[in-house]
Symmetry: D3
Subunit: 160 residues, 6 copies
């Protein structure tokens, strides 16, 4: 854990800034984030391939997630703008749920957890946009980082 | 429920489009969405006011949410660009949680559920960005619409 | 023809500005634009459905076109920002060509030809991005307005 | 030709992703793209310098093209965000045509063909926006890559 | 003066929000803002037309200002997104100064002072970008609103 | 002074381009810019902490400035897109003024003066947006570069 004693992004007086990473080494870093889009089983069926010959529903969510990963530094105020070398969005249908998983990679002095989290969120929002006329009560659950590799140490969900 | 038989945004052949709302009446519409940022109690304490004299952590999340609401149509592919007349983000700290609530209003031919959902998501992502160095396992839960008013009918979470 | 004697967008001294449309009536206006993505027959086959079970190639181009239509006023300097009520992108595969057609509608004091042209262009660029590893010599041809309806008069390609 | 057997950007199951370039070497890469804006001779005369003392018509198109090159990764879904070290737009008037040529350079693990193509397209769209009141039938033709240098091999239009 | 007792945009508890304008009437509103770019006389000469046959320096600043006006709601957190019906940037060279004036118009429930101020600022920043290699000490002075018309009352600089 | 004889960004024929920096060395570079938001003493009191328990007024301006620094290459047409490693905005209240200072750092082949200037400008515009209902005559003064470090030489305001 880099620092348990204080929030990053804030100076001693509590004011927000984008922290200096110029002294950190540029290395290859990967982050995986996940979330769940929860709706009704019949809606999952429609999203996936039941009634849609071209299957563009999942594609739309995937493309939205990829584009959002690239917009992370303009959405999340204190995030560093980074070159991204890979973005992959997996959409895994289950009974009443679509699991959304994003994998993002960079070669940079800081990690890409926020890019992966943002991709998951926007893919989930796009699924909601699609189904809101048939299931307004659908929700997005459990958006979180699953693992990160590279940088000072690796980390996986479940680690202390 | 406007249409339970098919996803909106998709034509008969399954291809995605931004649906025609030109024949719908322009009326005042309000949507409220909610989500929960879940972390440890000591982190909630740091976010709110425990150690940060200027309290900019919550402000940063709030501003990010307001800005994101306005970027909804460039993030969510099939959303209509709308003039927004009000955006309000409430951040309500509880023991190990910050409840995030967004209220968005427009006068337009279609509603602003997606704007409210997007504001909640990005406010939550911004909170994660702040605390990730001290609680990498934090998550965002339960992003959903709470109520909508205006348009063909009103709706509240819990309604069929 | 609104004005054949001079370019719009330029004042008498030749300087660029976004022309005043505040006195024009807000009416429903539709524009259709078209272009052709020209490649090899085997590449059209790959783009459409030959080898791609999920068919996301066309979906990716379609979504890119829809999003680009909404970004027109930040891309084309002298374009007015407008609320858009409909965006539809048709991708019609032919032997060595994918015909790209965009239909855009607004209720506003000025038309949406530029939105339709921008949607076609970016859908075409996205197709190029997809195939450039297999056909670097592919090109985008004939981006033009096919018809416009609403405003002072209607117009169709072929009219004087 | 790097790979004739399959579209890049798509995994075996046909789903779209932004391909991993983290193992590729960062080198200086240049791409040149070209297109033609086709209108009437009297309109070319007006665009260039006939009646416009400050000549801002070509400048407007050029600036739009430069800015668009920088927005390529937010427009073209599967493009990598790259640092750009040079963007140059040449606008060459001929009888009834303005030839648009964009030269873009980066030092990065992947090339900038899409940035050059996007710059040409948006410069062409901006020219159309300018002349649409006097020549609604104008079109943009032949948007394509002319040459690329750097990376695994060089390429020029006309090569197999 | 609408309210002298408290800052707008802040609720009683001091938290920021985008104020509700849904009850305000949509009327035609115009704002004019001004600023001065101050450099050396020889630099003004270069910017204007001394050594630059195509005069693109002023055009570049003008186009940047027009585009920035349209991006105001994504730059200024609590600004309402509005349809803009006119944007005009005047650049008036004086001895060691370029006066920058922006006129913006909308038909909307709130005014466009921020759009005019943003256009002036970004036009000035663009001029600085151009001259910084020859006059790093140049500055932007006096960015302010000159007049506003429409809405509850008109106002001009110099009024109480 | 790198070049006193001509504006950068313009070729011999006066046309604008984004200059080639591919041959320049990537080094750590820092720029500091400053400006002053000038209003009435009672307004400074309200902005800072007089009546606003959460103090979000300064936070809003700070966040807007940080985000704007990251949007510099899409706002200032001929600016290079760069990875930014640090952004810090100081807001220093004085009697009738808030001094705005931005510090930006990169490791890149060109400097970040424009990012620092843009951050100052947008923070100032955001302060204006906040106080315009109580002091429409407020202004932004003296936006300029204070110092730059890194690159071919260092520079400070006051140097020839």
């Amino acid at each position: 854990m880099e620092d348990r004693s204080a929030l990053s992004h804030y100076r001693d007086d509590g004011s927000a800034h984008m922290v200096d990473v110029s002294a950190k080494e540029s290395t290859t870093r990967t982050a995986v984030a996940e979330g769940r889009f929860v709706t009704r089983p019949d809606v999952v069926d429609q999203i996936t391939d039941g009634r849609l010959p071209k299957g563009e529903a999942l594609a739309t969510a995937r493309i939205a997630g990829v584009l959002a990963a690239k917009q992370t530094p303009t959405l999340i105020p204190l995030c560093h703008p980074l070159p991204l070398s890979k973005i992959e969005i997996d959409l895994l249908p289950e009974t009443d749920t679509v699991v959304i998983r994003a994998t993002v990679r960079t070669t940079a002095p800081t990690g890409v957890e926020m890019e992966a989290m943002t991709a998951v969120s926007v893919a989930g929002l796009t699924l909601y946009d699609m189904v809101k006329a048939v299931d307004r009560a659908a929700s997005i659950e459990g958006i979180r980082v699953i693992s990160k590799q590279g940088g000072t140490h690796d980390w996986e969900a479940g680690d202390a």
